[in-house]
């Protein structure tokens, strides 16, 4: 689960990570009041779940309250397009008004899970402000790494990162403290990613998280009700949220062949084979291992709420999910939802004979395919 910058900073502050003073605002008037309260020069930052906000025009400097009002008014409600939002962009509903800090140096700090090691790794780079992926591909040696074992980044490790970036003298201690606090925040929040880019050292001797990105492990939200409350559904695709609420996993894509599959791997493979057959999948949909009649119906409803869908391919290899139960669900859904697009079914696994009998007896016009390839070709042909 992604959270906004202002929310991530609130979480990090609770662990002792210094951040600029800031106030979040939903209107230009609130933004002006925030600027007056903060005093001095400020930054107006669009709050959306995507990076690259500065380049997209979502971050502006302002030196007095009236200017903040004007800036906030232009940013709020704008459709901010960045390299992470896709061409459709994202509407800005909030801005963060923050004091400007006198930047002496920018560095990169990040924590993520290293899958090969099975442990979190703290990454640091002297090249703050740059995309870490670019640094990794152009100059991998510039990224310093320390492995976090048993939930702990030792102080000497934090110091080694800071020293490795050439941080010396009075600013060393506050930087090391901030690095340690970030590691603790990652661990105790069940984060999957914490990224501070840039983290800045200031002319007045402070070490401050100027930006903050934080992703929380969805699987761990059950033990963090405070973090779960930070979810901003407006930032999520409504159909995807709808699917989650019904125990389904749906991702909207751009094609016209809808897919309903059990299992993530088979669902991806089904998308692949649709493309090999010359078509484009309209979605990823994993109905999971134990789908019931209600889930099948909701799956069809969600697929069909995308007007691009011209045919639906159902590819089920039933293990736990029995094919006869699935077939009954398909028949019921077809009747209740009045499904008008062609349905191509490829069903295999437990109780497949009973399942095929249910489909045949329904009198409905299904296209039953013998294997995946035939199913994909049929579905693509019908959608064309």
């Amino acid at each position: 689960m992604k959270v906004h910058e202002y929310q991530a900073k609130e979480v990090l502050r609770a662990y002792g990570v210094p951040t600029p003073r800031g106030i979040v605002a939903g209107t230009a008037t609130e933004a002006r009041a925030a600027a007056e309260q903060l005093g001095g020069k400020v930054v107006v930052k669009a709050q959306i779940h995507a990076g690259g906000r500065g380049k997209g025009g979502g971050v502006k400097l302002a030196s007095q309250a009236d200017e903040v009002y004007v800036r906030a008014r232009s940013i709020l409600g704008m459709n901010l397009v960045t390299h992470q939002t896709g061409p459709e962009g994202r509407e800005v509903k909030r801005v963060l008004i923050e004091e400007q800090v006198p930047i002496a140096r920018e560095i990169y700090l990040g924590i993520t899970l290293d899958r090969s090691l099975g442990k979190p790794v703290f990454m640091a780079s002297a090249e703050g402000g740059m995309e870490i992926e670019d640094v990794a591909s152009e100059n991998p040696d510039a990224i310093l790494k320390e492995v976090i074992s048993r939930g702990r980044l030792h102080t000497f490790q934090a110091r080694r990162l800071a020293l490795g970036m050439g941080i010396r003298g009075d600013i060393l201690a506050p930087t090391v403290r901030a690095i340690g606090s970030l590691a603790r925040a990652y661990d105790e929040s069940d984060a999957t990613l914490v990224e501070i880019n840039p983290f800045v050292l200031t002319h007045d001797g402070r070490a401050v998280a100027l930006d903050a990105k934080m992703d929380i492990d969805d699987n761990a939200l059950f033990r963090h009700p405070d973090l779960a409350a930070l979810r901003d559904s407006a930032e999520e695709e409504p159909l995807e949220t709808d699917a989650i609420n019904h125990g389904l996993n749906y991702i909207k894509l751009d094609g016209n062949v809808g897919c309903m599959v059990n299992g993530a791997g088979l669902a991806m493979a089904t998308m692949d084979i649709i493309q090999y057959a010359g078509g484009m999948p309209a979605n990823f949909l994993d109905v999971g291992g134990g789908a019931d009649k209600g889930q099948i119906k909701n799956g069809f409803r969600i697929i069909l709420s995308d007007p691009n869908v011209k045919a639906i391919l159902v590819n089920i290899f039933g293990g736990i999910l029995k094919v006869d139960v699935l077939a009954a669900g398909i028949v019921a859904a077809t009747q209740e939802l009045n499904i008008a697009v062609p349905l191509v079914l490829r069903l295999e696994g437990t109780n497949v004979e009973q399942g095929r009998a249910i489909l045949a007896e329904s009198g409905l016009d299904f296209i039953v395919a013998g294997d995946m390839k035939e199913a994909a070709e049929q579905a693509v042909a019908r959608a064309a």
């Binding site: 059950f222 791997g265 291992g289 290899f317």
Partner: protein
């Protein structure tokens, strides 16, 4: 021959809820010898004819299982695996989906230097057809034989097995290693076991987008694996930055793409199936 499980495997089932009981029964049907169930609060009772214990330690003492199948829900699954590690159960297959990643980091720590191998989590488990089923895969699609199958995905494993059996090609052992970022057993671990198993003559290896496990396995194959491999990578058409169902299936920062993985496999002499419908025929061509 086979790897990990066979006729001598003594199975304990951790978590006897609805799913646990249903699958325990299916496992027995396809050859598993279940010697104990673990379900706190139900110690002293029986289920499907096997004794139920309140803790793994009691089960280990009384019934001496050497394998465990975990159905405990996500919030307590890591704890169940820790309990099995502490009792030195040799093999643990964890079916549970949705375990917090940092819980698995703790499990991975506990596994190092322990007596336990973990398969999963978020996986279908392990089956040696005709000998023992330690998992949730549909037993009837399998045939005893000499092809090993290893995969990150559950139902795509069934797809591969179904195609093999249709072609009359049986399997020595089929293993789903799981779709999570942190897992107990890697492709390399399984390939090493297959290499040393005289009963396995060829392998189907199914990967998916995300991470670098397939690339690492392909690199390892070059110097260490002598048997033919047919491979496939799911998710060639998946958009970057989106988590495709599995927590581990995501193309992030331009890494983990299907084309990189396919290229690594081909460079190691692995025959890559062009589509998921060609898994069986690609393997058949190698025999």
């Amino acid at each position: 021959m086979s790897i990990l499980v066979d006729e001598s495997t003594r199975v304990a089932v951790q978590g006897l809820g609805r799913a646990g009981l249903f699958h325990a029964e299916q496992c027995i049907r396809f050859g598993a010898r279940i010697v104990a169930g673990i379900h706190p609060g139900r110690g002293g009772t029986k289920a499907l004819g096997f004794p139920v214990f309140d803790s793994m330690r009691e089960a280990a003492r009384e019934a001496r299982p050497n394998a465990s199948l975990v159905f405990v829900p996500a919030g307590g699954a890591a704890d169940a695996v820790h309990e099995a590690i502490e009792s030195e159960v040799a093999l643990v297959a964890c079916i549970t989906e949705g375990i917090p990643a940092l819980d698995m980091v703790g499990v991975a720590d506990a596994l190092r230097g322990s007596h336990t191998r973990l398969v999963g989590p978020n996986c279908p488990g392990v089956i040696s057809p005709g000998k023992c089923k330690l998992g949730i895969m549909p037993g009837h699609i399998h045939q005893p034989g000499s092809v090993g199958v290893v995969s990150r995905s559950g139902t795509l494993t069934y797809e591969a097995v179904g195609q093999l059996s249709t072609l009359g090609i049986g399997q020595s052992t089929c293993i789903g290693i799981g779709g999570d970022p942190v897992i107990g057993t890697s492709f390399i671990d399984v390939l090493e076991l297959f290499e040393n198993d005289p009963g396995t003559t060829a392998v189907v290896m199914i990967g998916e987008i995300g991470g670098s496990a397939e690339e690492e396995a392909a690199e390892w194959v070059k110097g260490h694996f002598s048997k033919p491999i047919a491979g496939f990578i799911a998710g060639a058409t998946a958009p970057p930055g989106r988590r495709m169902g599995h927590a581990g299936a995501i193309i992030a920062g331009g890494k983990g793409t299907a084309s990189e993985k396919q290229a690594a496999m081909k460079a190691s002499g692995i025959a890559v199936a062009p589509t998921p419908a060609d898994l069986g025929s690609t393997l058949a061509a190698l025999l």
